[in-house]
Amino acid sequence: MQQLISEYPKDVRWVYRHFPLEQLHSKATKQAEATECAGEQGKFWEFTDKIFEVTPSNDGLDMSTLPTLAQQVGVANITQFQSCLDSGKYADHVAADVADATAAGGRGTPYSVVIAPNGEKFPVNGAQPYAAVKQIVDKALGS
């Protein structure tokens, strides 16, 4: 996605939806909320990248390290971050994103939908080769 955005900085917009699969990754929902808490301090993408970078498979991330990770990506007020996380204030937001992703046909992650200027939608299931995704984007841009 980052490669795509850097290649098409003026033509492609990346709209992100949280889609934690609770039944497979029990910690993912809280991690999604944490990214929103980091976003309050302007570090949504940095924290999201960090979470994906350090989270081992099968729910291996120690959740007590979230504030440390936030600090590492430059979240300035860790007390506010922790308070935000504890309050669960973004739980509804994340749940709404999950409902949105499911309604869009998502059954697993990653799930992307390329929306052409004419409104035509191309659902991409899983991490597909860049050449395939680029071809879909090129065709969509030609609409």
């Binding site: 699969l21 039944q23 497979l24 029990s26 099968n58 046909g105 059954r107 697993g108 992650t109 990653p110 799930y111 052409a116 035509e120 939608k121 191309f122 659902p123 991409v124 299931n125 899983g126 991490a127 597909q128 080769p129 050449a131 395939a132 071809q135 879909i136 065709k139 969509a140 030609g142 609409s143």
Partner: protein, 194 residues
Amino acid sequence: MAGRFTIVRRSLEQVFGDYRYIAVAIATALLAFTLSVWLRNVSLIVTALTSSLFSLTDSVLLLLRLLGGIATADSALVAVLTIVMSLMFGVNIALLSYYFVQRRKLPAIKASMTTVSGVIAAVFGIGCSACGTLVLSALLSSVGAAGVLAFLPLGGGEFLILSIALLTASIYWLAKSIQTSAVCLPEELVNPLI
């Protein structure tokens, strides 16, 4: 155990001694592999094939590019299991074809059913490592039991292992069927490769 290996080896030598069955095995394995990769993106493929934005050449190119998903969307384990499952399926169909051509009938129910069961298990196992099986998660979600996947450490890849086990059993039963003569003949006539 050694006897079983001998039965399988003899049958494989007998069947694949004819290059046409090698072609059947390769073509079927390629078909199984291709379908198992494409099945994950059925909605994308249908959209592309029916979209005015994609010419036929574009669609074919996209289909070819999506085959690379085996390397990007799967864990190494699931990718290897998918390839092994496809090869086993190819061998199964070659043995089944050989038996049918020789005897003009389907093999015993045990051999036929293990092949069918193996294919069904493979369909359940198709998916990507991050999202669990596509077919299974859709089915379980529809009955409100998606949480069952949490108990599968490979997120449904277990079904590919089950599929490979069933296809292995099927190969044995088919091999045994091929080695079992329909009529009583001297061994050298039943199995001329000995």
